[in-house]
């Protein structure tokens, strides 16, 4: 009952503060509500159309005609359509072949925004004997949309851009001189068109066509995952790789935030000297248990919010089948285990020091433990049943994080390992709480020099 009263105060003192509400609800809320905002902005704020001329000095003499064609509005628009198609394919590969629920229009708007409007370019071919320095004159004036039709830049194509010089190792190319402040999307288009024109000229010189070479270098491939029901499903490797990471981050975040609050409130109670008043009413163990449980509820709150947001996002992309409900259950089980191990150690640290500043050095080893899954997520999610992963999933206090990554990976470990890891976690949690309780009991009433690790061990023996 008293433990519950302590837990309740701990939870309210943490979660019912402005700082916590802003951090936990408002910030993610802003992120979520910002997405439609960005979309609206993207739809309304299309970039202004660029109209202007380009001088071309073609020293090879074989590119100018192709260049005129490649930079014509029709060709530019055609390539724009191709790029859009490619971007969509990349997106669909990312999300496992499923289109986002009914938001094609927004995706299109964002693509348009990325690509900008098709520019209207007029090509002026310069005579072969033109002086480059002379032609560059006037290009130093920054570009402005208020004067359409102005000269935008100068392209100088090398003499050996199409036919390699006899002793040279590689072909020549071209130089683009552009005016300052010209939209970089337009520059990209000019460069792309010029590159294509040069390549086409080279293909023609070698008696080849773009289409033939293209077909020679393309290999069609598709990956399909065979599921248990025998159905085929297009696999989404990227997301599958991200899932363990997401679960691990969720776990680390909620454990660390809850643990950190526990450390802070313990130091506060000690430095404000309210702790002895509390100890006249409850035993140190009751006090610690209450505080640990109270902050666990804070961690749970965060876990609910963030996993809720995550599941919401998956539902938005119709990807909920990536997530098995069992994984969510395991998330909460491993949260409790990890939280008890990490948070009780942090509570011990909090009880041993006099102020937050002194907590740093004792807190560092605990922080390093939590860094282990961060460092190892890549190798573990690639090969979730490697010796390293298997061994680490039985070593507390990192085992909950490692096991969570393995469970959510593409190659889940055998069930006996999961339960064995939970068993090890329970033993680890018990040991951590036991150690912390001893330190807590002695540390709470010790003021003065902050202890080092040897002193902590002494306290454990003393208590």
């Amino acid at each position: 009952m008293r433990t519950f009263q302590i837990a309740l105060r701990e939870f309210l003192a943490t979660a019912a503060t402005k700082g916590f509400i802003i951090g936990a609800f408002v910030v993610p809320g802003i992120f979520v509500s910002a997405i439609p905002l960005i979309v609206i902005l993207a739809m309304n704020a299309a970039p202004p159309k660029v109209v202007g001329s380009l001088d071309v000095l073609d020293k090879s003499g074989a590119v100018i005609n192709g260049l005129r064609e490649q930079l014509s509005p029709e060709k530019l628009a055609e390539r724009r359509a191709d790029e859009k198609e490619q971007a969509k394919q990349v997106q669909s590969k990312m999300t496992g072949g499923m289109t986002p629920g009914g938001n094609d229009a927004t995706a299109d708007a964002m693509l348009e925004q990325m690509l900008g409007e098709v520019p209207q370019l007029t090509i002026n071919a310069l005579p072969a004997d033109t002086d480059v320095e002379q032609a560059k004159k006037g290009l130093d004036v920054p570009y402005s949309n208020e004067h359409p039709g102005e000269r935008l830049g100068l392209i100088v194509i090398d003499p050996d851009a199409v036919h390699k010089a006899p002793d040279a190792e590689s072909y020549g190319g071209y130089k683009l001189f552009k005016r300052p402040k010209l939209d970089d999307r337009v520059i990209d288009q000019i460069r792309d068109g010029t590159r294509r024109a040069v390549l086409d000229a080279r293909y023609a010189a070698a008696g080849e066509t773009r289409e033939r070479l293209q077909s020679l270098i393309t290999v069609n491939a598709e990956t399909r995952e065979v599921t248990e029901s025998g159905e085929e499903r297009r696999s989404s490797e990227e997301l599958t790789a991200m899932l363990p990471f997401a679960f691990m981050i969720l776990l680390v975040m909620s454990v660390m935030i809850g643990g950190q609050y526990l450390l802070t409130t313990t130091v506060e109670e000690k430095s404000s000297r309210v702790v002895e008043l509390l100890l006249s009413a409850v035993s140190p163990i009751q006090l610690m248990t209450g505080k640990v449980l109270g902050q666990m509820c804070v961690g749970f709150t965060l876990l609910f919010i963030y996993s809720g947001l995550g599941i919401g996002a998956l539902a938005f992309y119709k990807l909920t089948d990536l997530l098995s409900p069992m994984n969510v259950v395991f998330l909460f089980v491993f949260f409790v285990l990890a939280y008890f191990m990490i948070a009780s150690l942090l509570a011990a640290v909090g009880s041993a020091v006099n102020e937050m500043r002194e907590a740093q050095s004792l807190q560092t080893p605990v922080m390093l433990l939590v860094m282990v899954p961060y460092i190892l997520w890549m190798p573990i999610s690639r090969d979730p049943n490697s010796t390293l992963a298997t061994v680490l999933s039985f070593i507390p206090p990192v085992n909950p994080f490692i096991m969570m990554m393995r469970i959510t990976s593409s190659d889940a470990p055998p069930m006996w390992q999961v339960f064995a890891s939970i068993g090890v976690g329970i033993i680890g949690a018990y040991a951590c709480v036991w150690f912390a309780a001893k330190v807590f009991r002695v540390g709470l009433l010790m003021y003065g020099k902050p202890p080092n690790f040897r002193t902590l061990i002494k306290w454990v023996r003393m208590a």
């Binding site: 008293r2 009263q5 302590i6 105060r9 003192a13 503060t17 109670e269 404000s272 000297r273 309210v274 702790v275 002895e276 008043l277 509390l278 100890l279 006249s280 009413a281 409850v282 035993s283 009433l445 003021y447």
Partner: protein, 321 residues
Amino acid sequence: MSDAIVMKGVRKTFGPKVAVEGIDLNVPEGALYGFIGPNGAGKTTTIRMIMSILFPDRGELEVLGRRSAVESKDRIGYLPEERGVYKKMKVGSFLAHMGKLKGAGGPGLRKTIRTWLERVDLADVERKKCEELSKGMQQKLQFIASILHEPELIILDEPFSGLDPVNMRLLRDLIREQHEAGRTVIFSTHVMQQAEQLCDHIVMIDRGRKVLDATMGEIRTRHDPKSVIFQPIDAGVEAGRIESVDGVAAARTDERGFEVFPRDGVTPTDLIPRLAGAMPASRIELHRPTLEDVFIEIVKGSREDGEAQIRAALRNGEETR
């Protein structure tokens, strides 16, 4: 009558430092006991052991008939020396929290809290945050927190430190009231005057050892007056003139006039009519030793430092608080 607290040969060390050495103590139920001694004498350690916050290395301890205070925490009210409040918590919520932790979480708790706040002149602070209160006000809160659950045994560690004279009187009245209601009260102080005004029994502690355990009456009879305080109306009277009075051995100027010592075979009581007959006096009384005098008399033999130093050590604590 049974004892509220029994201590037998209790010893506590912190590393090489002996904080409390072989204390035997019986506090009967319903008594008002004062623990006195200079700062660092071992009062707080003794109290913490009674509260089961610390555990003795050796010896036996019994509180309200149990082996440990943990088993009877709800029957004990404790105001620690190192005390604080939750700064961000509202006064009402803080007291309610402490009350619930003490097992007083009934429906009448809020009303009790309000009544107590009114009694200590803090009626309007219930909705304020604790950090908005002055230190003295916070101390009154902590006192309320320690007696909210109507405990049988009240232990107050330096309850008067940091209070102004008005609040000291208020707290003294509240303590006396608890005592009169039949509760056992123990309080510690290094300000001997406080104990003198309030207690019926004194336990003196010096450097971890109990040096005195007696009622105020016993102390008074044991430490008879040895001199007379004498203040002549004529401010110009010199010590030599007083010393010429029959039966006077020596006269020494004192802040209250003169302290006059009798010759061998003459009692201080005999001196009073003789001095009164010799010259007109505005003040003439037996000099009763204060607790401070008694303390010094007791510890003088066992200490290397002289009387003035011991007095300075005792008063130093007073001024810094």
